[in-house]
Structures are given as C-alpha cells and as structure tokens.
Symmetry: C2
Subunit: 370 residues, 2 copies
Amino acid sequence: MNTPLPASVVSRRRFLGQLSATGALALAPRALFAAGAPDKKLGVALVGLGSYSTYQLGPALKLTEHCRLAGVVTGSRDKGLQWAKAYGFPETSIYSYDTMAKLADNPDIDVVYVVTPNGLHAAHTIAAAQAGKHVICEKPMANTVAECDAMIAACKAAGVQLMIGYRLHFEPHHRELARIGRVKEFGPIMQMDGANGFRMGGRVWRVDAKLAGGGPQMDMGVYIVQAVCMAKGEAAPVAATATFDPVTRPELFNEVEEGIRWTLEYADGAVAHGHSSYNENMSWFRAEGPQGWAKIEQFGYSGQVLTTSTGPRAFPPVNHQAAQLDGMALSLLHHQPSIVPGEMGRRDMVITEAIYASAKAGGKRVEVKA
Amino acid sequence: MNTPLPASVVSRRRFLGQLSATGALALAPRALFAAGAPDKKLGVALVGLGSYSTYQLGPALKLTEHCRLAGVVTGSRDKGLQWAKAYGFPETSIYSYDTMAKLADNPDIDVVYVVTPNGLHAAHTIAAAQAGKHVICEKPMANTVAECDAMIAACKAAGVQLMIGYRLHFEPHHRELARIGRVKEFGPIMQMDGANGFRMGGRVWRVDAKLAGGGPQMDMGVYIVQAVCMAKGEAAPVAATATFDPVTRPELFNEVEEGIRWTLEYADGAVAHGHSSYNENMSWFRAEGPQGWAKIEQFGYSGQVLTTSTGPRAFPPVNHQAAQLDGMALSLLHHQPSIVPGEMGRRDMVITEAIYASAKAGGKRVEVKA
C-alpha cells in the first residue's frame, strides 16, 4: 500500500488528499475521485457479518473504486464461506474472532472494519491494530471514553490509522451543513435542535446494556451530536443537561433508556437541543445563526433534504457507505489524516457520557470535559 | 341577540350550529357559513388595543360575516377615538378599564374580547361577565387554574358564555388533525412531538412574570398542548415531566423561563414531547399511531401545511381570526355550546401547571389532576 507514486500523480493526489482531509469541498465525494484514481484498491476485511455488513457495507464494497472486500471475521465459518464465494476472496481470508492476530500474515488485507455490537468495538479494534491493520470502527466508537482511549493508544502504538464509520461526513448535504458551519455563512450558529429515533419493534442487541452501552443515545443520538459539532465547526460543547423519557415499554427498555432529551451549551452561548428515542420515528436537525438557518432531514442511508433560509440546496444522491469507504481509502492511499479520526469518536463519547451523567443525576447540568 | 328566528331558518341553523359545536367537519369554516346567514351581526368590544388587536383582530372584524367591532376598552382615550373613527362605532362605545361595568348599559355590544396581558385576563373577564356580556378570552386563559375557576364561575353566575381564543380550532388543517385524532384514522395516536418558539428580540411584557404568568410555555407551549389534546380526541394526559432550558440571555429571562421541554403521558401509554422557547424559531407538531402519522407545520397566523403517511392534505387558507370570530358568533347566535369553552382553557392550564411544577421540582414526574 505504500507503493511510491509517480511525481505527476503525487501533486494531484496531494491536492485531492488535502481536500478530503479538510472536508472543505461541498462536492459529492465521487467528484473528488474522478480527477485521479490510485493504483491499488485497498483490501478491506469486515469484522461481524450482521445486517449492516450484509445489506449495506458488503453491497457498497462492490461499488467502491478504491477498496474491495478482501476478507471477513465471523463467528460462523459457514457464513464466511458464503461471503468468500459471493465476493470472490480466498477461504484463507476467513477469520474467527479468536484468530484475528493471524490477520498480520495476510498482505491482501489493508483495513479492518469493525461492525460488531458497540461493547465489542474496543476489543476488535485493538486486535486489528495489533495485527498491523488500519481500522475503521463503526459508530458509536465504544461504550466508554476509557475504551476510546485504549483504542486510540493501540492504533498509535501500532502506527495504523483509526477512523470512525461516520458516513454522513461523506454525504454531500451533510458536507454542505458542515461547510455552512465552518465558514459561518449564517453567522455563528447559536440555536440548534434535532431528533433521531425509530419505533423499535422487538428485542435486539441494542437494548442489551452490555453490548450496546446505552439506548438510543448511543445508536441514534450520536448523529445529532455529530450534526451539532458540524454546525459549530467541529467544536465541542461545554455543558450537558439531560432527562430520560418515561418508559412506556418496560419489557424492552429494562436495561437501556427508551428515549432521552438533552441540551448542550457552547462557550459562545450557542445552545443545542436533541432527542433520541426507540419509541418514535424522527430524523432531522436544524441550525440557526443571526443571518439565517439550515435544516437537514434524514440521518438515514438515503433521502437527505437540505433547506436553508436562502432556499433548498440539493445534491445528487450518493451511496453513503461507498462514499465513506472510498473517502477513507483515499486518505489512507494519500497518507492524509482522516476527516473522521478516532479522536472525533472520542469527542462524541465524552459528550455522550456527560449527557448520560446528567440524566442519571436527574437533569443536573454536567460539564463536558475536553 | 335573542331575536326569534323564522322556523325554516332555525332547523338549518340548528344543523350548522351542531356542526360547529362538535367540530366534526374538516371544512373551512367559511363553507359552513355559506349555507345560511344569521339576521344580526353580533357586536364585539375589544379589551386592550395592543398589537394583536391592532394588526389581527381589528382587521379580521372587517372580514367577519356574523360579528363586527362595536366598541373598545382601552387605557388611552385618544386611541379609542382613532378606533371609533376607523371602525365606525360611536364614541359612547369607548370604555376604560375602570368603566367596564357600564358595558351593561350598551345593547350594541354582545361580546367582549379580552386581549390584555395574561395576568389581567381574569379581572377583565369577570368584569365583562358581570356586565352581562359573553366573553372571549385570549389564550392562555389566565396565569393559574384558580383564576380559571373564578372566570368560569363568574360567567356561569352571569349566564354568559366563556370562550377561549383558540383560533386553530377554526383553522382547517388543525380541524383535520383533530378529526384524525377523534376518528382514530391511524389508530390511537401513541407518539407525539411538537415545538413552538421564536427568538425574542428584546424586553416585552411577555418576560414579566406578573403579566405573563410564565415564559414561552404560557405563550407558545399552549399551542403544543392544544395539538396534543386534539390528537387524543380532546382527552387530557395523566402525568407531566419537564425541564427548563438553560438561560443564555439572563438580561431577558430573569423572571420567566427562556425555554422548557416536557413530556406528557396518557393513560393508554401514549407519550407527547413538547418544547417551547423564546430563543429558537420553530413551529410544528407530529402525531403517530400504529397505522400512520400526521404532521402539521406552523402554529402561526398562516402557512399551515399538513402532511400524513397517506399524503399531503391541503385546504384553502382562511383568515384565522375572522374564522374564529365568525365560528364563535355562530355558536352564540345558535345557542350552541362553544367548541373552545372556558373548561378547555382550564384543562390546558391544569396541564401547564403540572409542567411547571415538574420543571421547578427538577424534572420530577407530576400527576396531571383533572
């Protein structure tokens, strides 16, 4: 993967790499790629073959230009064999969770994408890093800030990159929201409000506290936290106040919250309200500054709509997962820092811990420590 | 106003009156009026000539078919003279707050519309009732449930009707929302969420606790409470949990809250979330049941949009205040109970007091007593 590049390609790639590292362009990622294609497709191994791998990441890896599915880590050998056949990688690239150390001997795998339940992210990320592989870890990064620290340290020690699966940083409507926040198009954003949730049908691992680390705030609320930080130029808030929703389905929500509402405060007086729930279908974020506002609808895999006080802003739809995987592959190929590094995942977990601490303390205002 | 009506008119009017009393029709109120016009335009006196009277109610009273502006109660004789000239009523129909008892001697005035600050509603309503006039009281009904009780008792003792200025009960998109809730088109509504607020520019009577009774919950939150009750067939919730927003502008919000978030619970497990604020522009309500959802945008004086899981539902726009005034006049002319009686205003104040009690107790769950 560190193949030297011809000089003419390097300069162009450095330009592209800088763009992807700063996230400064409000273009569909595909527009970046069109200008120059790297020599090699990075080999990606998926760790955990649940529904997100099966229905999103696997299919996306058939669309990517800069990476391809090169292996899997799974608890089911049978499943691994099916994937090897479907995606055309050798059976020797099927691993189980307790043989991840052997990834070190596989030059065909450059990046390991951890897609297991939240509570297992730290162990699998650290195992991948120790095998010398770059790591993409699905959001939320982990169950605790302490785990985030261990993951960042392990990747640093191994000299590999750690990136968080924040696909919306590669989605053009959200990139435009981030741009509006960064350049202060509407002045500094001062009022924010957002909600993300769905009505959960039945018991899944996401209501198991040990595996999920928490309820909808972990799974859905992190999108609102991400949007808030985008609107504030990636700055972190200074305080959190939160309240749990009442529990209307105790048979499902006896370990994690059914819903939670929170308020984040910024040092400049900006305030952000958020609501995440497993009892209500909702998906939107709105940011307002003294000179205007922007509202984005849909944190999901498609259907984003961005409206602003100066009119709607539409962008061609992209496959989120393919855009994310290609964007990440490019930053690796160009030796550029990721726009969604482990530190960003840790920042969001610090905020999330403050939100939970406040709700557990009955709504007491809790400082967000950097 | 109790002029006997010819029999042929009575039966048609009784039909129309029943419709307006049950609120069963999802038609623009104008459609009701077209079928038959009463003989007399009721005389309305406005109490308080602030911006709502000046820019909304006064102009609306030029559009109404069943009532007209017949007098004013104001602290400024000069203002009263200007209004008498502009609206063509005699100078003898200009009153001051301390001469309201003399309204009793004015047969040209049938209804008194109280448009003073919230904290004065009770005194002015009771004065109007004691003068033998029907009363429309602007929302919120009063500062406390105790005041509501006194207002209802005074109107009952005087044998006059008491109606609350809930204009959206006469607005077709909201009437459709109420119909959806009443007939359970999407099954019983189980999840509700809404927000109403604006960014307040400077100090007005609305941030004075004595005059306003509270902050945005009194002024803006009552619209969400109203929408929640509409979606639940006008039933009241059983519990409230609430949290005040942080205060970012203490120079404005040193007597009343800057914002407040709340959750209302129903006996059937339905949950409603609301957020009202003087720091954020927002205006929407969404209700979902097992078979679908409805979302209404805009609690303001125009621009309502109703979307549902089965598609958008559009209605011709109406002048809210004219529709409300004509709807109220019709119920008086037809001797029908109002669809927005004092008891409804009291119900909302009971809910509001529970919301405030919870927020003041740091988010403790508070029962809503019927």
